[in-house]
Amino acid sequence: MTANIIGTRLKALREERKLSQDELARIFGFKDRQTVSAIETGERRVSAEELLTAVEKLGASLDYFTDPFLLAGEGRFSWRQSGVGVPRLDAFERVAGRWIAAYRTLAPQVGRPIPLLRRTLGITPRHSFEEAAAAGERFAKEFELGDVPAARLAEVMERELGVLVLMVDATKGVSGAACRLPALDAVLINRREPPGRRHFDLAHELFHILTWDTMPPAHVEEASEQSKNRVEQLANSFASGLLMPGAVLNRFGSWDKDMVRRLNTTANALEVTATALKWRLIALSRLDRAVGSQASDTALRNNGRSRGTGDPAAPLFSKPFVEVIAHAIDHGRVTARRAADLLDMTLEDLADLCAAHGVEALFDL
């Protein structure tokens, strides 16, 4: 994508406008389509005059062809949200797309290549919820997530699967999103949600990333652990199994007595929501449904903690992302001001962001 950005964008726009290479060749004044093909594949560099012709004749801005921090017709998002209107969602998608595009561009330039291979999960709509949950359990086991799978999930997704995980200040109502690019997967999570919600959303979006080819998620889905959409239900089952494997739950004993308190304390220990834990125990037949219904949503809200007892927000973005930005500035791949523009922050905020992730800010203030 890097050096052939102009050719790639030209091809995307040509296809969007439903023009053949022959038609585009005539627009440019080339004698044949082979020249257009060579530009689109990067075999031939476009000249400044030809770039200006493209701007003029195709009615696109210079930035469209040259801004590496732009997802031009690429990137499919699936948003997990509640009550967010389309205009606000589209606006945030454009912003988030720039972060992801920047990572895609800069990471290889600073020695962090995008993964060559992509992992998939063989769960289809024909599978049962129990099979999806079992797949989640197996993921936790095979990737050695340990006794508190939630604590290591993001790290494993980044390191083992090459998924870009970003904790973001999302527009109100957005819980998270999965994003699929041709060569990169990304997950965005609202960093200000309680940890249990963040972890469940992360595991849920992981399911979408792993099953995108066979079960592409909808562009917008309602954020609910009790969704009626089958793909969403399978994602929730997978997330439950991953975050609360049966083997991990074994050490917490039975649930007959003091149920509400035990749900809340166990949920805190596992960094999940008490509500999710309740439904997981019911699905495993370790908690009778009728008994479980006695634990009201109110009693389990915020894992039993009083209102105003908030957990701190997760650090903004992620260490791998911030490292790439910092190294890209130091390697001369992006200016500090451009990086600050991208993240909509001051240079001082950018330095603080680096410090928050233990990354050296390699630029002068």
Binding site: V55, T335, R337, D364
Partner: protein, 117 residues
């Protein structure tokens, strides 16, 4: 001269001496970026635009074709708007000039060698 350098000179009170001792030029985008709301700094400087422009020997506005030239020569370097405009102007001049800016991205990629053809 790039935006960050103008702002830093202004902050330490060196701008009058610099601009009166040298023929200092910049581009419109950099002037815009010195204004409140565009500086990307926590403690913003109040830079009087009229005073700034009066102290500059010239403020240039590169044409689209000059910006296109920078774009095709260094397509994978993410410059900010001010620096991109600055280089687009500088690299089409025929006289001697010195460009003053803080970023490696600005200098590492746009060496004169890359513009020889």
């Amino acid at each position: 001269m790039d935006t960050n350098v103008i702002l830093e000179c202004w902050r330490i009170g060196a701008w009058p001496a610099l601009s009166s001792g040298y023929r200092v030029e910049t581009v419109e985008k950099c002037v815009t970026e010195t204004q409140t709301g565009y500086q990307r700094r926590r403690a913003e400087q109040h830079v009087d635009q009229a005073v700034l422009q009066a102290s500059l020997a010239a403020v240039h506005r590169p044409e689209t074709k000059e910006l296109a030239m920078v774009a095709v020569k260094a397509p994978d370097i993410a410059l900010d708007l001010g620096e991109r405009a600055l280089w687009a102007h500088a690299l089409t001049r025929n006289d001697n000039w010195i460009l003053c800016g803080p970023d490696k991205a600005s200098f590492d990629s746009l060496s004169l060698d890359s513009f020889s053809s």
